[in-house]
Amino acid sequence: MTAPDRLSYVGEVEELRFGEQRSEAAVYRIEHRAPNLTRRWYLAPSDLYGDSIISRGDTTYSIDVKRERVVVAQDDAIDDQVAEDDNFAVLSSNYKATFAPDETYDGRSVHVVLLTNKYTGEVTLRVRIDAQTGLVLQKEQYAANGSLLSETRFKQLRYVGEIPMGLFEVPKGLKRVDGPARSLPSSDLTRVVGGAGFHAMGPKYLPEGFTPVEGDVIEIKGVRTLHLLYSDGIRTVSLFQNESAAAVDFSHYRVNDTTIDAHDAEYVEDGPTTLVAWSVEGLHLTLVGELTLNELEKIAASVSR
């Protein structure tokens, strides 16, 4: 869950995400050697059993045993301190942090921090932090109606002095495959939008506290796509748009029909994340976020030039 640069530890992590149509869970053993070496061995779901991910700084090696390959990917954003500080400022301006009474969690004394949305008054995040080390041992994110959206929890945590370097070696004999190399996303959205190559749209309505934070332009299968991210510091919404009106393939998802401002639209739910896709004025638009379908439809209906 967390990888602080001064602590080495081993343990087990459970990640759960709850959706109306589908929920997801993963369990993995984690070994973290300070400052930036982490290995996660997946125990669940069953089709990931035996696979692992080694992170070395901003490079990640996904060891896929069944496909006998290692996917090597790089993400410069992992070290993007400026963006993190900007996003933390957004969080601070939209959420009030308060301490709840201390508790014991998995045998350790923890501080409990509640992040309450300033506009709705609802607790959005509950975080349990190891009182001794500052490591986050558990966090729960809630929807606006109070239902649990996601939970991440550490179990059987043990702080250790040293972890053998060999654990972070990438196994030999597996085929190496390049994953995506992600550059730094930009918070200079004017520049990003200018690089899209078409007259982009933006939402006129966003939930209270949401602001544009980052963006980039990607080519997916040759289709130039503008990706803008909006956030209130915890919750996020992405707006994708491309001029080529590329169709969206919803295979593996249960697709539903809806309308956005009288335009036909489709949506799918992936755990607590909802994706809405529709076309308007020659642009194909896709909105993705952890908000309710109602909120996403409201944002979608406000998207215009």
Partner: protein, 175 residues
């Protein structure tokens, strides 16, 4: 702020430098003389710092892969019969009506659909979900993908390319 102490919300806004100058000065002056409010202020500052420290140290899930499942599945499963057998199958009356319908569909796909979808590209919903998770990686408490795409899918990033990334830090207005 009441006559005695500073309200918590106002204190938090003060700590985040969000108060108008007059209120900011009033809170600052009150803190200089009120030990109780000073203690509360220090507790809030500590809390903010703890959260910031966590936000900085959070390990983010990297959704390394990108997905295009359907065409792979379709291509794999499309082990069609030999041409002669196919032609014979087409001549059977039982397929005549479906064939006509298929012809109409082909007309739509070949003539009408290209106008709506000029590139013919089909982008998996998983691409958007993965990219959304990737770009949220600098948001302090972002969850990312529970199941990493790099282990879940056959596809890699080879058909995805970053075009514009300036790494600039100035927040700009909404487009």
């Amino acid at each position: 702020m009441n006559a005695e102490h500073i309200e918590l919300d106002k204190l938090i806004d003060y700590l985040h430098h969000e108060l108008p100058p007059g209120d900011d000065a009033a809170v600052m002056s009150h803190l200089a003389t009120c030990a109780a409010c000073r203690a509360l202020s220090e507790e809030q500052a500590h809390l903010t710092e703890a959260l910031r420290s966590y936000a900085r140290s959070t390990e983010r899930e990297l959704p390394a892969g990108v997905v295009a499942r359907i065409w792979d599945a379709v291509e794999t499963q499309r082990a069609g019969p030999a041409w002669r057998r196919r032609i014979a199958a087409w001549l059977r009356p039982v397929v005549a009506i479906p064939l006509a319908a298929a012809f109409a569909l082909l007309l739509y796909v070949g003539v009408v659909q290209p106008r709506l979808n000029p590139t013919g590209a089909v982008i998996s919903a998983a691409y958007y979900l993965d990219d959304h998770a990737a770009l949220t990686s600098t948001v302090p408490f972002s969850q990312g993908n529970v199941v990493p795409a790099s282990l879940e899918n056959d596809e890699t990033g080879s058909d995805q390319r970053w075009v514009a990334s300036t790494g600039a830090s100035d927040i700009a207005e909404t487009p």
